[in-house]
């Protein structure tokens, strides 16, 4: 249901209920007042007739029972009157008065039914006469209903009019909302420009500004996403280009040149495979995909596996391990991710430090978490670099070659499983990477 219809229903419903209650109250009052006024008329007419009769010098003869017209008695239309002697003889009556005796009940107001017609009568005793005036109750009710209609019709019309005006008024009041709706409906799904509506009421301003903030955020996310796709494309196309180029050279040439080209193509394939694996790993960590197949791994085995993965990397022997854990500690991170994280840190340390320098791996506990700290004595990173180093596809400008995803993967793992990756400059120069990983509750809690 549209907002306009809804408002109209609420407002119109309220009008109708309130006006009806007021009308019932008013009309009830009106009816009482009318009855009182008509009764008063009966009474005063009776007194008037009695006064007239008193002025007659002699008492009315019984013979004089011929009807007197109402105007002769000075009575208004609809009223009837009869005068009786105390003995019950009808002395005078208006022509339309039923012959049956009205108001035998005595003095005062009475409702009677004579010949199936209901009457309201007033009887008064003056000396030796009874004067009774009466009017028909159905005439009274006809009068009442015509008064009711006269009173109710304008109210009803006003009510309808106010409903119509409310409908247009609501439409006018909701105009900014309507123009906002039209503006949004016209927009391209791709359009993330801020919305601007003229004469925006105060109530809608927060809505529109929230909307605009949302647009901003989505636009920024899209830019990030696009950059990621571009970077990923670059990351895969570069080795692919090398593969293709060298394979073509191998086709074009013979002998040593062809052999060398094939070797180069193989190197490029290796690099591409590594990039692809890192990308897939990152995508898996960042998605909500489960790593349930992976078992949990102890910190000691984690270090062992990560080191074993690096055997082929030149300078592997430079890694010096300092283990401060005494008992077995289970890491609450899937095995493959924990191993990949540590391997990436060690790989970076080996890659970016001088050939003869030492890379230190410290394994210990800190704040109920496992701490893996990798320190090298390479050129390190500037503060600015450290800010950016965890971003996807970031690499140092002085020694390219990595996929630019190593630290991004570690960061994604810590974000997903509740660890922390802290990078800082080592006091001795080089980079000092602190990787905190959560410990599984099932492992022993004594400090290592």
């Amino acid at each position: 249901m549209s907002l306009r219809k809804r408002l109209l229903l609420i407002l119109g419903g309220t009008f109708i209920v309130l006006w009806s209650l007021a009308a019932v109250w008013l009309l009830g009052d009106l009816r009482r007042e009318m009855t009182a006024a008509l009764d008063e008329r009966l009474a005063s007419s009776a007194h008037m007739v009695a006064g007239l009769l008193e002025q007659l010098s002699q008492p009315l003869p019984a013979l004089y029972a011929s009807p007197l017209s109402a105007s002769e008695l000075g009575l208004q239309g609809g009223l009837v009157c009869q005068v009786r002697s105390l003995r019950g003889e009808v002395l005078v009556r208006t022509p339309n008065t039923p012959t049956a005796v009205l108001a035998e009940q005595g003095v005062g107001f009475h409702d009677t039914t004579v010949n199936g017609e209901r009457w309201r009568s007033y009887t008064l005793q003056r000396q030796h006469l009874w004067v009774t005036t009466a009017d028909r109750l159905d005439e009274r009710s006809t009068l009442q209903s015509s008064i009711l209609i006269a009173a109710a019709l304008p109210v009803l019309l006003a009510l309808l009019g106010s409903l119509v005006l409310t409908w247009f008024g609501i439409g006018r009041g909701l105009k900014p909302l309507k123009s906002l709706r039209e503006l949004l409906a016209q927009r391209d799904a791709e359009d993330l420009q801020a919305v601007y509506v003229e004469h925006l009421p105060k109530d809608l301003q927060p809505l529109v500004s929230t909307l605009n903030q949302l647009f901003d955020r989505i636009a920024a996310a899209l830019v990030r996403e696009r950059r990621f796709t571009n970077d990923a494309a670059h990351e895969l196309r570069t080795p692919l280009t090398a593969v293709k180029t060298h394979l073509q050279i191998a086709q074009m040439s013979t002998g040593k040149v062809a052999e060398r080209a094939l070797l180069q193509a193989e190197t490029a394939v290796g690099r591409m495979q590594k990039s692809l694996e890192q990308l897939l790993l990152l995508a898996r960590v960042e998605s909500t995909q489960d790593f349930e197949v992976d078992g949990q791994i102890s910190a000691q085995n984690l270090a062992r596996h990560a080191l074993a993965d690096l055997i082929a990397v030149p300078g592997y022997q430079r890694i010096e391990v300092i283990n401060e854990l005494e008992d077995e500690v289970l890491v609450a991170v899937p095995e493959s991710l924990a191993v990949a994280s540590l391997r990436n840190l060690l790989d970076n340390a080996l890659r970016y430090s001088p050939a003869q320098s030492c890379v230190e791996l410290y394994i210990g506990r800190a704040d109920q978490q496992l701490l893996l700290r990798v320190r090298d004595s390479g050129p390190g990173l500037t503060d600015e670099d450290i800010q950016q180093a965890k971003q996807r596809f970031w690499r140092t400008s002085n020694k390219p070659g990595g996929s630019g995803l190593g630290l991004a993967i570690v960061q994604a793992v810590t974000e997903r499983y509740g660890g922390v990756l802290r990078l800082q400059a080592a006091p001795t120069g080089g980079l000092d990477a602190w990787l905190y990983l959560p410990i599984s509750k099932s492992s022993s809690t004594s400090t290592g």
């Binding site: 494309a233 196309r237 280009t241 090398a242 180029t245 180069q264």
Partner: protein, 223 residues
Amino acid sequence: MHILLVEDDLLIAQGLQTGLELQGFTLNHMAHAAAAEQALELGHFDAMILDLGLPDEDGLQLLTRMRQQGKDLPVLILSARDSVLQRVEGLQAGADDYLLKPFDLRELAARLHSLLRRSSGRSTHLIEHHGLAFDPATRETTLHGELVTLSRREQALLGALLQNPGHILSAEQLQDSLYGLGDGVESNAINVHIYNLRRKLGSEVVKTVRGLGYRIGVPREPA
């Protein structure tokens, strides 16, 4: 044809160098924008292959700066950035062509030839000069309709002279075109190739301008 290759990825650079040299080009490879800029100051190049993701600077910045300095060297951008916007940006920055990675070596060579052809204002690959015809793409040389067999260096030397008709090219410039920058080749190596060209195409085909260098002359009359 002497090409400056600016590419930070060593594997690709090696591939391009070998692949294009097999197709008759002479290449110098630079991995950084700064080095490329230096090379442009030092030597003469016929065209430049530019990668955009350089470690020290974006390739587009280098290109924009080159164009601002008035260098009109044909530039072919070689990039993995594939969106239309990026290609448009590249071309607007002053590139003459844009080739997406991965590419085909033969297509790259053909595009380079087209660039060179356009930059010297010709409508076909074939360079004709007094009955001498040289096709840089196929590297075929004919004199008055007859095929002449030239070595790779001789082809490069003839190409360099024919592409700059009327210009006097110094021995260093010719040497760069044949061997690339700073190869440390004895300058009389050029003389050997000039001698061979004169022997095959007529003694007046390469004119020596004393103290300045060489320019293309008139080949032998048909027999």
